[in-house]
């Protein structure tokens, strides 16, 4: 559902952030930190990375100045929104013990923070939709995810620049935002304006409060152009239509050995991936033996413990662990959740310390020259 | 007469491992030896061939109790080679992190190691059963020192944020701010702590020491100053090697230092205090006076009071630095790598810690020398003990041993930097 669009300027954008904060949302969005664009609390449009962009490639990310004042002129960075909706550490329950026989267990409350996710890209909307399938649509849901997710307000942004490792076009996930947002923004950097549209009723309500103008046909056309240009400049490509069959038919391909020689089994790819959802649990106890608790923490299929069974681990080699990761993302995810587990955001390529590139690995297995 | 060696228990609550041997002949103490067994670790040897950038991280590992001292000594010495001199907020941040270490180390020694002696407990933990509130507050004080180190340095033991030229990352005002309230509470406790320990039962004892410490025109010395003594010494740090000499004695893996041609000297809190009383903050001076200390102090048994006066000073100094803090524009200053030799001394909690390095034109260390405070003090400790033990010879061995232990603890001998257990050997001939 979209409505006739309007345009707002930077003040309007600032008003949007404040309107959301005023509605009790914790507004989180792109901001500069440690020479990267991360997702963190933002209080006003000033906190956005004005005039910055990024250069990304396998294993490298550099911020560079743009020659304009664009607020959204960069691709996705090291963080994804899962850090808010599916946080790295989640308390599950506490148990109080009095004596040996009495234990009282109390579930961690799912009092959710109300997040307004500001600046969500098309691939990221897809990633959120994928995590929804995992955490909401299976036989057992995750109450903590549900609470945060149901409250979240989403301000999406159409990408005006493809990153060096982006391949959403190949994965049919972008760069145009389709659905799943409350408000969508397209930045017309050269005109200092943003074309905005509402995707939901509450989005419409919020937009109505902002100082705005009717979008001219010209602005609307320019917004379309921005997206087209982005689509035409993807940093990476991957033929994805047959990848399920391709990978599952090549589980013993020599390329897995080749990648194992390079892969550090460091798990960065899984940590940065917006769809990776695996977790483990930690038991903790106090020194007096009266309280214990269980906490959930992001885990990765690259660790030895991940597949540990008494007497040994199912995937002792990096070869089998990398294969698990990649085949899960691109193939078995379809079997499990009816969708790809990869949205083509390119994070795993950029943030792999040694630049292992999922698109190249697929190409190599396909037998294409890499 | 047959040789009779009385072996007494281990000495605990000193950091490091050593033993104490007393040779008695004809009812008089002939010799007292502080034996340091800490296995040699050969830092000065394996520092050769390392890059200057690695030195602070490596030297930190000389001692887990005062890593900052080794990091400060080595960074400053190397900076002299590279032509770096820090000023402004970077210099202040270095003082701040050192204040953290002083607090941690002094409070650890005063309350965890030393106070139990005066109050008649085996340990601070045992002491906590009767003096719970005091121990808890002391732990909080110590923790505040540690928190300075973790905030500025990343962690309390072997901080990771100190580098040649400054820091890897400087804290924001927001990161330092939470320390202020804690430091203010710590300062208030420190005033009380000085008062509490000043009431301990101290033997009368006046020793004639040559105190050696750094002295700086504008501040209580931490990282900078000239080497001065109460007997006329006043030299730049560069003259250290000419003025002091280290000898190697058979009974110890720590080297012994002397002032050339003069003999033993004494460095550490008592020396610093006696040579720099005028540079303490008014609150610290007043706390010292109320504790019955003059501007100098020659009674080693009172060193515990001085440590806490210094901890009080460090808390106030930290407050001052944090209140005035503005993050510098860059976390470190880059120097130019060149061949050369540089030395420096700083005031570790236990006294002067001297470093000298020679680098080649690639910044590789070709020579390293480090003089830890405990080895500088060892001859003085032995002299003192020789004198004390003489008066205690009639005591039963168990009592004698306990006295010796307590006396040794006056010096807070961090034996791991030179060198743990102190085994007492009394050879009564």
């Amino acid at each position: 559902m979209t409505t006739a669009s309007a345009t707002i300027d930077k003040n309007g954008l600032d008003a949007l952030i404040k309107a959301l904060a005023g509605r009790g949302f914790r507004v989180v969005g792109p901001t500069l930190r440690d020479s990267a664009i991360v997702y963190d609390d933002i209080g006003s449009a000033k906190d956005l990375p004005e005039g910055w962009t990024d250069e990304q490639d396998g294993g490298t990310y550099r911020l560079v100045r743009r020659n304009d004042e664009a607020l959204f002129g960069y691709a996705v960075g090291p963080h994804s929104w899962k850090k808010f909706l599916h946080p790295p550490i989640q308390s599950l329950w506490k148990a109080a013990r009095s004596g040996k026989l009495t234990v009282h267990v109390e579930g961690a409350p799912s009092v959710p923070e109300k997040f307004a996710l500001f600046g969500v890209r098309a691939c990221e909307l897809h990633a959120i939709a994928i995590q929804d399938k995992v955490f909401l649509h299976g036989p057992h849901g995750d109450p903590h995810y549900r609470a945060r997710r149901e409250n979240a307000f989403i301000v999406a942004v159409n990408c005006s620049k493809a990153g060096g490792t982006c391949f959403c076009v190949s994965m049919n996930t972008g760069p145009r935002v389709g659905s799943g947002f409350d408000i969508a923004i397209t930045e017309l950097a050269d005109r200092g304006r943003f074309v905005v549209e509402a995707g939901t009723e509450r989005g419409r309500e919020v937009l109505a409060e902002l100082p705005q103008q009717q979008a001219s046909n010209e602005d609307a056309a320019a917004a379309g152009k921005v997206i087209e240009k982005t689509a035409a400049s993807m940093g990476r490509h991957m033929k994805s239509d047959d990848v399920h069959r391709l990978l599952l038919a090549n589980l013993e391909h020599p390329r897995w050995d080749d990648v194992a020689e390079r892969c550090l089994a460091c798990a960065n790819c899984t940590m940065v991936c917006p769809t990776c959802f695996c977790t483990t649990v930690d038991e903790s106890t106090d020194l007096t033996g009266t309280e214990s608790s269980r906490t959930r923490r992001w885990d990765s299929c690259f660790t030895i413990e991940f597949s540990y069974l008494h007497g040994g681990t199912v995937r002792p080699t990096t070869r089998s662990r990398y294969r698990q990761w990649m085949t899960h993302k691109l193939a078995t995810w379809h079997d499990q959740f009816g969708t790809s587990g990869c949205v083509g955001c390119g994070r795993c390529i950029t943030w792999c310390p040694v630049g292992i590139d999922i698109t190249q690995e697929v190409a190599a297995i396909r037998g294409e020259p890499t | 007469m047959a040789r009779k060696t009385i072996k007494v228990d281990y000495l605990a609550r000193v950091e490091g491992e050593g033993a104490f041997k007393v040779v008695v002949r004809d009812g008089a103490v002939k010799q007292a030896e502080l034996r340091i067994f800490e296995p040699p670790r050969f830092y000065e040897a394996f520092l050769r061939g390392r890059s200057f950038m690695e030195v602070p991280d490596i030297t930190a590992r000389i001692c887990g109790i005062c890593p900052i001292a080794y990091m400060m000594g080595s960074t400053h010495a190397i900076e002299k080679v590279l032509g770096i001199k820090l000023d402004g907020q970077l210099r202040e941040l270095r003082r701040l992190i050192y204040c953290g270490e002083w607090i941690e180390s002094h409070v650890l020694h005063a309350f965890m190691l030393h106070a139990p002696d005066f109050l008649g407990y085996d340990s601070a933990i045992a002491m906590a059963r009767d003096h719970g509130d005091l121990v808890k507050k002391a732990l909080d004080f110590k923790k505040t020192g540690n928190e300075i180190m973790t905030t500025v340095g990343g962690r309390e033991i072997h901080p990771i944020n100190v580098r040649v030229g400054g820091f890897y990352r400087v804290p924001s005002r927001r990161e330092l701010a939470p320390l202020l309230d804690k430091l203010k509470a710590a300062r208030d406790f420190a005033v009380e702590a000085v008062r509490v320990v000043s009431k301990f039962d101290f033997p009368d004892c006046e020793r004639d020491y040559e105190f050696v410490a750094l002295r700086h025109p504008n501040e209580y010395p931490l990282n900078e100053g000239r080497l001065v003594s109460n007997k006329g010494l006043d030299i730049p740090i560069e003259d250290y090697d000419e003025t002091f000499e280290e000898t190697h004695v058979e009974h110890s893996t720590a080297l012994h230092s002397h002032i050339r041609g003069r003999g033993a000297y004494f460095t550490g809190p008592m020396a610093r205090y006696s040579l720099n009383f005028d540079k303490l903050t008014p609150t610290a001076q007043q706390a010292a006076r109320e504790a019955g200390l003059g501007p100098t102090c020659n009674n080693p048994f009172r060193s515990i009071v001085i440590r806490l006066v210094e901890a009080l000073y460090a808390a106030e100094e930290a407050i001052r630095i944090i209140e005035a803090y503005e993050p510098p524009d860059r976390p470190f200053v880059e120097g130019s790598v060149r061949a050369g030799s540089g030395c420096h001394a700083t005031e570790a909690p236990r006294g002067i810690c001297y470093h000298r390095y020679t680098l080649d034109d690639t910044g590789t260390v070709t020579f390293a020398r480090i003089a830890a405070p405990t080895s500088q003090n060892q001859p003085t400790i032995e002299n003192d003990l020789t004198s004390f033990v003489g008066g205690w010879l009639d005591l039963p061995d168990k009592e004698l041993q306990h006295r010796c232990e307590q006396a040794i603890r006056n010096y807070d001998p961090c034996i791991s930097c030179s060198t743990h257990f102190l085994k007492l050997d009394v050879d009564r001939g």
Binding site: G59, G289, T303, W351 | A12, R13, P39, F42, G154, R163
Partner: protein
């Protein structure tokens, strides 16, 4: 729970930092002392309970013949022996002697090397006796120390994962210093535990927790070389506090002797 377990703390060649970590647990120290009998801990108490201990924390490496004997005694007196820190677990920085001539080392430091009695090598505790559990780090992380003690009391497995430091770094939300700043970092091959400290302070990890469970140092070195690290510095970066751990030792050797 019955009788309180008896804890002993032992020191071999080391800087005292790891056992000091226990005294640095200001918030938990009294609770620890309530939960266990601190039966032997010379750095903190002159009280000593003789006999056997339920758990011994051992700091330091074996560098003298005397210590090689002493560790055997510690073992026979301990039900569970936990090594704490890089010295006890990998030989420590002093294990650099294992790649050098100790006599020459002694002559550099001491005027009378003949007074110095030391072994040619600095070796981890596990090279001498059976070790139930190893706590990594130079120094250990005090939260991990409390975790190990709490886990021991509760009879559970301590949560001290052996995966890469990168996972902790990402859990924290750090920006990768290698990818975003081009700084060489040992995080990908280093055992977790410190909470990714160095990268949180804008520097690369230098590996003070030793190798992770499946370190691929060869691939990482290749990348660090691409970032401009010289062979000499590659050798140095593996030659610190865990230089004598098998994985780092081998990688060290690949970069010249």
């Amino acid at each position: 729970m019955g009788k309180k377990p008896r804890l002993a703390v032992w020191k071999f060649a080391s800087c005292d930092g790891c056992q000091l970590s226990l005294l640095d647990c200001e918030d938990e120290l009294l609770a620890v002392a309530g939960a266990v009998d601190i039966a032997y801990f010379p750095e903190a108490t002159r009280g000593e309970i003789k006999g056997k201990y339920d758990v011994s924390l051992v700091e330091g490496s074996i560098t003298t013949a005397h210590d090689a004997e002493r560790i055997l005694d510690v073992r026979t007196r301990s039900r569970v022996l936990i090594t704490i820190g890089a010295c006890a677990t990998a030989g420590g920085i002093q294990a650099l002697r294992n790649f050098a001539d100790v006599k020459e080392f002694a002559s550099v430091v001491y005027a009378h090397p003949e007074y110095i009695h030391t072994l040619e090598t600095s070796t981890p505790i596990a090279a001498h006796v059976k070790v139930e559990y190893e706590l990594r780090g130079c120094p250990i992380d005090k939260r991990q120390l409390v975790e190990v003690i709490s886990a021991f009391i509760a009879g559970r497995r301590p949560v001290t994962p052996a995966h890469s430091t990168c996972i902790e770094c990402k859990l924290k939300g750090n920006v990768c210093v290698m990818v975003a700043h081009g700084k060489p970092c040992l995080g990908p091959v280093t055992h977790a535990g410190c909470g990714a400290l160095c990268p949180s302070y804008d520097r690369g990890c230098y590996g003070c927790f030793g190798p992770q469970e499946t370190p691929n140092t060869v691939s990482l070195s290749r990348q660090m070389a691409a970032l401009g690290m010289s062979e000499e510095n590659l050798k140095r970066i593996y030659s610190t506090f865990n230089a004598y751990s098998e994985d780092f030792r081998k990688e060290r050797e690949r970069h010249g002797s």
